[in-house]
Amino acid sequence: MLERRAVVARILKDRGDALVVTGLGSTTWDTAAAGDNPNNLYLWGGMGGAASCGLGLALAQPERRVLVITGDGEMLMGLGSLATVAVQKPANLAVCVIDNERYGETGMQRTHTAFGVDLPAMAKAAGFKTSALVRTKPELDGIVKKLFTAPGPLFVAIKVSTDPVPMVLPSRDGAWILRRFRHTLLGDAADE
């Protein structure tokens, strides 16, 4: 079974200048573990908001690729945002769910995906242009390029193991994370 840190590191190795939004909480730690980057907008809160945050960013920056990396529990709390994203049809947005079928931050209780809820099917039904489920390394290698180049909106769920991983935390200062992100993206215009 795929391991979450290796999956996120593999994806981000090919990110180029993509803008990345992460969801509360394990995917924020996974993304930090792959190496801090000023193009990362780490969310430590607002559970359920990662995909809509990625949508707002993708609409504001249509020339840049935007990748949302979030967990199954976080995505389940914001299922309506799949409908909202699908209606807007952002060609530059991909949503990637790292699916361990558990609420990792609260004691590894099973999420709805552990009982068969099919997130890629829900995204497809909402109207995402492409949606896929990934379980193996070859499938992962095959999907990474699409995450950064295929016309969106794109939805990919990647099943990963529940094996424990070391804690790696980025800055938890939201104002600083946002200011750094804006300055990197917008330069001096960030202060106008």
């Binding site: 359920g48 809509s52 707002g56 609409l59 504001a60 939201g174 104002a175």
Partner: protein, 179 residues
Amino acid sequence: MAKRPKSASAPTWPDEVFAVLKDHGIGQVGYVPDAGHTRLIDRCLADNEIRSVQLTTEEEGVSLLLGAWAGGQKGALLMQSSGVGNCINMLSLAQECRYPFLMLVTMRGQWGEFNPWQIPMGQGTRAALETAGVIVIDVDDAARVAETVHAAAALAFGSYRPVAVLISQRVIGFKNWKK
């Protein structure tokens, strides 16, 4: 039941507010369909420079506009007071990340409300927003809505804070239940 008082003509405040949003360079508008905001939403949808995003719930607007701001775009959220309760936890993003967040809220459960089910959230709107760290400004005079929105936008974008304008049901008018 008493007859609904008729106004002489269509209200002009939605068009005035639209002009204020344009003046402030609003590029992205999130909304949940709402009777009081119908005219303003239609104006936004018809504008080529504003991206209007229909939401399934108001809380999506809080994170949507964090993303918009992160990408260099100013935004506003158009909603009804019943949607304020849907936003509470998500508003922690605005307080922690310090981004300008403008909410234009049409009130229910207030001036001449007929539906008792609207009362709990309508009467609790200000307290809920203030508890979540949002600056709240009321307006109950149609002639002052635009200037109030202008002041709220200046405050939000000048101070990087969440600001809500509560547009009284007195401005919106009574809902006609016999229609």
